[in-house]
Symmetry: C2
Amino acid sequence: MTSLSKSLLARRDAVLGPNMSTFYQEPVHLVKGEGVWVWDHDGKKYLDCYNNVPHVGHCHPHVVKAMSDQAATLNTHTRYLHEGIVDYAEKLTATFDDPLNTALLCCTGSEANDVALRMAEAVTGKTGIIVTNHTYHGNTTAVSALSTTNPSKFGKSSHIRHVPAPDSYRPPEGDAGEYFAEQVKAKIAELEDSEHGFAALLIDPFFANEGFPDLPAGFLNATMKVVHDAGGILIADEVQPGFGRTGSHMWGHQYQGITPDVVTLGKPMGNGHPVAGVVTTAAIMHEFRTAFRYFNTFGGNPVSCATALAVLEVIEQEGLMQQAADVGAYAKGRLQELAEKHSVIGDVRGRGMFFGAELVTDRTTKAPATDYILRVIEELRNRGILLNKIGIHYNTLKIRPNLQFTRDDADLLIDTLDQVLSDVQP
Amino acid sequence: MTSLSKSLLARRDAVLGPNMSTFYQEPVHLVKGEGVWVWDHDGKKYLDCYNNVPHVGHCHPHVVKAMSDQAATLNTHTRYLHEGIVDYAEKLTATFDDPLNTALLCCTGSEANDVALRMAEAVTGKTGIIVTNHTYHGNTTAVSALSTTNPSKFGKSSHIRHVPAPDSYRPPEGDAGEYFAEQVKAKIAELEDSEHGFAALLIDPFFANEGFPDLPAGFLNATMKVVHDAGGILIADEVQPGFGRTGSHMWGHQYQGITPDVVTLGKPMGNGHPVAGVVTTAAIMHEFRTAFRYFNTFGGNPVSCATALAVLEVIEQEGLMQQAADVGAYAKGRLQELAEKHSVIGDVRGRGMFFGAELVTDRTTKAPATDYILRVIEELRNRGILLNKIGIHYNTLKIRPNLQFTRDDADLLIDTLDQVLSDVQP
């Protein structure tokens, strides 16, 4: 680490306090971004294969211009009428299947999930929530309590139940979808026997945090039925797979062939600008807005809406979903070739611009290469590639570049990974 | 309302759902803002005496440029090192008294208060919260439950206690500060007798939502002692009085002469950009970050920090605190003169760029002119002045312009109000 970065880190620790997590043993000190590239203060260039927030590319000029122009024209809250929020909400909801026709805009995916929980309560009159046992849905008090990966010192979550995260590499016997539905059903019964009752199942339909298992089409059908039969709702957290990342569909739940009751949106929505939202049916929105009073000062302001609209425009105009599908398939194919050479690669998974490989010390036992993957990630960083790990055992390479990622970028990534897997000894 | 606005309102209702509150019987349809002015789509110009979000003026060019330049350079989360968050947090905490030396950045005042509640829990191991009975602290599930003005269909707040809002126009017998402290003490005892225990008192030190009562200096001293003697902490919500609005001090708690344990910041911080924060002691930050894991993707990103830094620079460079003090005192003086002419003005209150008048139908009984004030606000809007009402009885004119408001603007406001109070018959 340079002395400049060291000094910055010391100042940061002093003014922001402890446990502000950074990536890598020595954090990367960034100063500039463009497209799929970021630069550190020393002029070193990195291929960003990880950051899903700058969804259509770091500092995309169309998005920056839309934001800057609106910021110079008007920014205000939604208690005045403004075209921006209406134009955006119409364009956004048009990408959803009926009856998901209404939207609520807020600032963060955490706020969106926090609202979704209240929608579930408004509709069902109950408060019990089911999530997987390896999930993360945000940082407010209410949604932070859901996350097994986000533990607090004080456990108070008698209204929360966890089901085992789907794991396509170590599958259960029988049909995976039926198995998951049975787990959910059992937890619904527990909640219905409690004072809380069952309100909602909240899942990322891509199960990104769980290690993005390869799930068969229709995996969630049985679960949807179980949830609805019990009078609950299904909330799909689209912060990871949303906005076309999977290539084949705009939303993760669409390739699963299901229509959730509530969908939450976050990170990629404004290419870095803090904008998020909840899309649901007119009926559920009505129930929520009757049961709870909700106003969000910054939510849906003209600048946020202009920025978010520009993101949708770029996805469409630049054909980025097609690019995500094409480049993602190409990169995944090259990863699969790499698996023939490196036995540490136990499984290759993913869709579109979210793919990766589970690293194991032994393909028979599938023992997670948890320490090894850390060294691989560090060495990739040394060679100018930024990515990370995820999954139930934290042994899966999480490769999630923004949608400007090309086949050339994929080649650079895979070639470098090939060398690193050869050079870094297990 | 024009046909364009009508059509927009219909589209809005369809795509955003019911109960999205708007101001006025016919909402104002805005297209442009500059300084203290906003324009509707019909070209009508309004003096904005209400919106505290564009704190240093609508579309302030220095703030817009800082935001735009950074957005075109780099925007990323805080798991990489970046100068922006450190520079900003240092400059921000320098405006606080010791030992308030550390900051956490997030996106909304609601998120800030949500974090503050967890800080209280981290420090005390308890969860009981005391607020006033006419307050609002935000929209997350946890903080929404605190607000008596934000009721939900489902009450579940056994850990929350309310004390009567201070009311300088209808004061209690004896010393107001001692009276408030006694109320807090009684509620602390109730909480300590419950399963929750007492964690924190959360107040706006300016009591804006309560109608910004004129409180004697040192009003909160006795309360601070009561809170600390019970092992709890005091959280000051500075979303309303913060960033120099009161003119005399950068923060509302400073003119009260107290140093809270935790301070939360929101609306004015980014002049409309969604940025917010929590400032506290190094010890409390340490307790929080040890007890809870907290990461906020958008919080403290380079664009938010560049924007927020520009706001601090404008306040300083343009002498806006001095302007808030000068113009606020002038406007309040003119309001007091108006009270000699219009008996409906029962009380004139405020500090700096947050002032107003409580309207009553009878100065002896102090009966709130609740219906009358609505007609006054509507007629002011017709004559190009935007403001609103607030307070325990919703009968206090809430005049809260941004800090670019001048004596000429104050004259226009007061002269128009004078005419409206003459023309609109009680």
